[in-house]
Amino acid sequence: MEGSVSDQHSTVEQQAELETGFPGGVVPPDAGNRPPTKAVEGSSTWSLIDRIGLAFCWFLGLLFCAIAAAIVIFLLIQGITYLKLDQLVTPAASGFTEGETGGFSDAFFGTIILGVMGISMALPIGVAIAVWLVEYGRPRALARLTEVTIEAIAGIPSIVLALFGTVIFTSTALGFLSRTSEGVVFGRSFFAASSMLALEALPLVVASTREGLNAIPRHVREASYAVGKTKAATTRRILLPTARPQIATGGMLGLGRIIGDTAIIVVLLGATQNFSEVEGVPFPLNYLRGAGTSLTNFVYEASPTGNLNQPTKAYAAAFVLLLMVLALNAATDVVHRRAKKVGTWSH
């Protein structure tokens, strides 16, 4: 635990340094009075090769900006051209003309359902694991093993997770989570897909929560113990509320991962562009146990390499997906900035 605390210190310092521009984030006392040091040398004295290098830096930096701008503007134009709002409320249908094939409402709501289900599994489990790692973490061998496990889960390709999911969710014991007919378990359902997606989001939640907990100084915990609070009460009443911005950041990063994933959805949910409810099951469960689709799956199938081949609708769906990702990025930014302000205990 000591090790991780000191690690944390160094990253906090890094961030402080990034923000203030001074080593260790320590601003010299007279920094406010004097103009920012202009002592940086220009490139005019450099040899030609160094200057070419710097020019290459600028080129790549501007290229990245151009690529990002191109993606956003291109999809914006395509989205405005092809996205009709009724596509968001019309389910996909089979047909021969653009008009007959409907929209992608099921994909849109599918993405929302997956996001909600996935993150509501990943968040509590991830926070619990992080709390155990930071606050308990004994025996140390198990803590080390857990770190490796989380790291390994982060490194598992999503297509491998998807294949693993097919094995688990087609087993008869878990038949109640998907469609079953004549003893054969179908294995594709919102439960199946969202639990594997949760696994994919888990490492992000754990990492972010750990960061938040580690940033809380030791004396805060000791103060709480000193007034007779148990460790569990301290964690719930003091530590988790304090680390809330980081937990939220982790949750949003995880959510982004969930709504952006395609492989797991193609394997564990897809095969259709509509909700296919299971008969004889009460309301929300009939949809959740059935197969479905998501925006990523729709884009994949509607692209020229997919089965539907409706590029204009693929653009429209991709535009909606991009808007969701951008909104999530913006929200993460706001929360993260607040996390830095509140969570560092520098005051």
Binding site: S10, T11, Q14, E17, V40, E41, D50, L54, C57, G61, F64, I67, A68, I71, F74, L75, I125, A128, I129, V131, W132, L133, Y136, L142, L145, T146, V148, I150, E151, A152, I153, G155, I156, P157, S158, I159, V160, L161, L163, V167, L199, T230, K231, A232, A233, G260, T262, A263, V266, T296, V299, Y300, S303, P304, T305, P311, A314, Y315, A318, N329
Partner: protein, 330 residues
């Protein structure tokens, strides 16, 4: 008094109990990972067992082998497992290797730029741009690749002469190594940039100042001192990006060309226009055959191979980063 003291989180939420509950959860997670590894390897074992080391070797057309494998389940004449994955592995090496090399160069220059040279307004733009590029879903990259980059390569870059020169072997349509490498580079470079900038920012200022004080210019200082000091993080970031690239399936399934063809660099520069198909997209493309036992074994064998290599890479990256933090250079 005692009771009052304990009332809020009394025996139900006592420390030991909470610790045991959380510990059980953590153990369950470890067990889940073990179950995953074991499941994938057990399901893939028949394919490895029937082919031995030649599983990894060249021989025959992989697409034909895959369809024979999946059809053998219906014939009743016994399952066929013959599978030689080399064209897929070679395609993975070319695409991921290419993307990681280009990504490494790009990410290094951009990180150096961000940390040392970019004016404030530029880094205020570039940092969100990098984060954005990292968060765009892979299927959107795939869609843009299919509808923009691939037709561009097919119609403008590949000449008619080049198309006719290999017409008998493979048709060049733009679904190519080049398209795959370009897009994969854009996808993984942001990941590397975020790790590299963290590392470069934490290089001790004194080291850099020492070099500057000796009259070395800023450009050489950041490369000779900063980048060298951050070397472990650069290795770690590269390896993590490689693991990510190996697991990328959907984007590559869309634009790499989807024929199990092994582009041959000996053919000259034309090989970058040739289509191929890496390992992960092969699973996505053949997922419908999962109901046939031998095909299932083959797909799980591919997954096992991917899992092994990706896990090795990300563990190596993690270990390097850990080892490095001991020397305070993290």
């Amino acid at each position: 008094m005692e009771e009052e003291f304990q009332s809020e989180y009394g025996p139900k939420w006592s420390d030991q109990r909470v610790e045991r509950m959380l510990g059980a959860l953590v153990l369950a997670m470890v067990a889940l990972l073990l179950a995953l590894i074991v499941t994938v390897f057990i399901n893939g074992w028949p394919s490895f067992a029937h082919n031995g080391l030649s599983w990894f070797g060249p021989g025959g057309n992989v697409d034909d082998q895959l369809s024979e494998i999946s059809q053998s389940a219906e014939g009743g004449a016994g399952y066929i497992y013959t599978f030689h994955a080399w064209p897929l592995i070679w395609s993975t090496i070319l695409i991921c290797g290419g993307a990681v090399i280009f990504g490494l160069i790009t990410a290094l220059f951009i990180s150096v730029f961000l940390i040392e040279f970019a004016p404030a307004w530029m880094s205020n733009v570039l940092r969100p741009v990098v984060r954005f590029l990292a968060s765009v879903p892979s299927v959107i990259y795939g869609l843009l690749g299919v509808l923009v980059l691939v037709p561009f390569i097919g119609n403008h870059l590949i000449t008619e002469h080049q198309k006719s020169s290999v017409a008998g072997i493979i048709s060049l349509t733009g679904y190519s190594l080049m398209a795959a490498v370009i897009i994969l580079t854009v996808m993984i470079a942001p990941l590397m940039v975020s790790i590299f900038t963290d590392a470069l920012a934490s290089v001790k200022a004194g080291w850099l100042e020492g070099s500057l004080a000796l009259g070395v210019n800023r450009w050489r200082t950041i490369w000779k001192i900063g980048v060298r000091a951050a070397r472990p993080a650069i290795v770690a970031g590269t390896v993590l990006a490689l693991a990510r690239a190996i697991g990328e399936s959907v984007m590559l399934a869309m634009i790499s060309g989807s024929t199990a063809f092994a582009p041959n660099p000996a053919d000259g520069l034309i090989f970058i226009y040739e289509p191929s198909r890496p390992l992960a997209p092969t699973i996505v493309k053949s997922i419908d055959q999962l109901s046939s036992p031998p095909a299932k074994a083959t797909l799980f064998a591919i997954a096992a191979f991917l899992l092994f290599s990706a896990a090795m890479f990300s563990l190596a990256g993690w270990a390097t980063r850990r080892a490095m933090s001991k020397y305070g250079a993290a």
